[in-house]
């Protein structure tokens, strides 16, 4: 394994330069979180050790400085994930408005438990903490999209659309 196997394409390289321009020259470590988001979006939705080493080489920092950050923040996936990671809020207001029913419905519909990808690698359910959508509960997030005021019918339609779209979701 070498870091040369992993490299941002030209478009992503341009984004890297834009991100680095946001900080004073000697403070480029500040670019770490934005670069990890970009890397996760560019390299199959997760951060492999090779990807993290690559980011360390761009910022000229120790690999451990990347690992300790990637493991701290909940949005970074350290294992491969399905195309569509369905992040279901389960805190207070969402719980009150039926988040647990949403989890159970999805588990049954997709025939997987929370955390497992479906066999075709299309969907994966993750329970998360408050996403700031309390007034439109229950909800889940897929990539940068918020799906709110969920009902079972709505979920059926959302999954159907995504199955047709069949593209890896991303935040960036």
């Amino acid at each position: 394994m070498t870091t040369s196997e992993i490299k941002f394409n030209d478009e992503a390289q341009k984004k890297v330069q834009e991100i680095l321009a946001q900080y004073p020259n000697d403070k480029s470590k500040s670019a770490l979180l934005p670069l990890l988001h970009l890397a996760q979006a560019e390299f199959d939705g997760w951060l492999s050790p090779e990807t993290m080493d690559y980011i360390a080489s761009i910022l000229n920092i120790q690999a451990i400085e990347v690992y300790e950050v990637a493991t701290f923040y909940s949005m970074f996936n350290l294992k491969p994930v399905a195309n569509y990671l369905i992040e279901i809020c389960q805190t207070s207001s969402c719980w009150m408005c039926g988040a647990e029913d949403i989890v159970r419905y999805l588990e049954k519909k997709l025939n997987v438990a929370v955390g497992e990808p479906t066999q075709d690698g299309m969907f994966q359910i993750k329970t998360v903490e408050c996403l700031g959508s309390c007034g439109t509960a229950p909800m889940f997030q897929i990539g940068d999209k918020y799906y709110e005021n969920l009902t079972f019918e709505k979920i059926d339609a959302i999954l159907e659309d995504l199955r047709k779209e069949n593209k890896r979701s991303r935040y960036v």
């Binding site: 934005p34 009150m96 700031g132 007034g135 509960a137």
Partner: protein
Amino acid sequence: MNEKLLLKYDHIPGINTLAVYRQHNGYTSLEKALKTLKPDEVVEEVKKSGLRGRGGAGFPTGMKWSFLAKPEGVPRYLVCNADESEPGTFKDRYLMERIPHLLVEGMIIASYALGANASYIYVRGEYYYIIKILQKAIKEAYAAGLLGKNILGSGFDLDLYVQPGGGAYICGEETALLESLEGKRGNPRIKPPFPAVAGLWGRPTVVNNVETIAAVVPIIQDGGDAYAKIGVGKSTGTKLISASGHINKPGVYEIELGVPVEEFIYSEQYCGGIRNGKKLKAVVAGGSSVPILPTELILKTAKGEPRLMTYESLSDGGFATGTMLGSGGFIVMDEDTSIVKNLFTFARFYRHESCGQCSPCREGTAWMEKIIKKFIDGKANMADIDLLWDVQSKIEGKTICPLGEAAAWPVAAAIRHFRHEFEAYVRNPQSINEVKHYYRLNNLVEA
């Protein structure tokens, strides 16, 4: 009383664009500040306004600004805290999504007041679509000469950037936010030194919440004195309230501080009463970390006076009978809600979000979650109530940052006001049915 200062134009189509925002007085406050006020005079107006931090702590903004150190030749920074993650709170998201230019304008005015030439808006990573909205607004502002060099010919330069978080509640704590902005784990720093002296990259920094910075725009527009006339006593101005839970009309409401809680819950103008004709059981008035209050104490103080939506009235009676305005995350629970089960979701949240630096918080939050789960599973005994009380009491005041308190207070308040519900779970593991939840029993209970 229906004075709107921030959400006056939120329903105007296209208000997220510079053109439409400008048609509705957009950037006139900035022009006024740059052309007629010196930076110190802007600070003075904010001081006069009585504006208090809208993120939750309620610290006077003008005073925070006046603490900023200004050593010669050292850059200083304004950082906007858009890491909104307190359960029950979604007002900043609403504001940034609907009227991004209001935040941008506030950032420019505040940066001018503080003498910052580079400023950052740190947005929680889950709000990535908001980041894109803000970046678009910032691009428009640059193109119109409202950002960059020599803004509106004033000689003032400012670069404004948006920084994503990575999914960590703790980064809403200002020193954890700065650590994160420096590309590190979000571990809160020991204070002092405060960010005003050593903040971002060790340089003087002010960190303010989204709503706080947005409020600077109407304050400059109409003057600090005019703003101070709105509201009640030391609770001046308006506040965005995120209303959720078992109400007919959940959403973000801008209220003049001083609206009675009862009016806020029941009037058609705001929450529109409890869903499905049910009765009110309890309210968490200011985000998950403030003490929950039962109906009788949220509607009236212990002295029998109507409780008002102000910093002072909500905290009247201390924690024995009161709570806090906090972030304005107003969570309403109907008569069928299990207080213990809701508390479990809070306990799980704080265990998940503890950064792990201080052992009372790292160990305590996990322990509290475990004990509360025992009640839900029907495996607790009466002594567990006292144990839970004991654990929470040993977190408060013993941690670097306030996450310790934030985790302990909801537990303490649930026991203080709803001890009988914990007891019911011990007496009868099926008491969850007695409380008539409208939701179905879940896996945790079946276990």
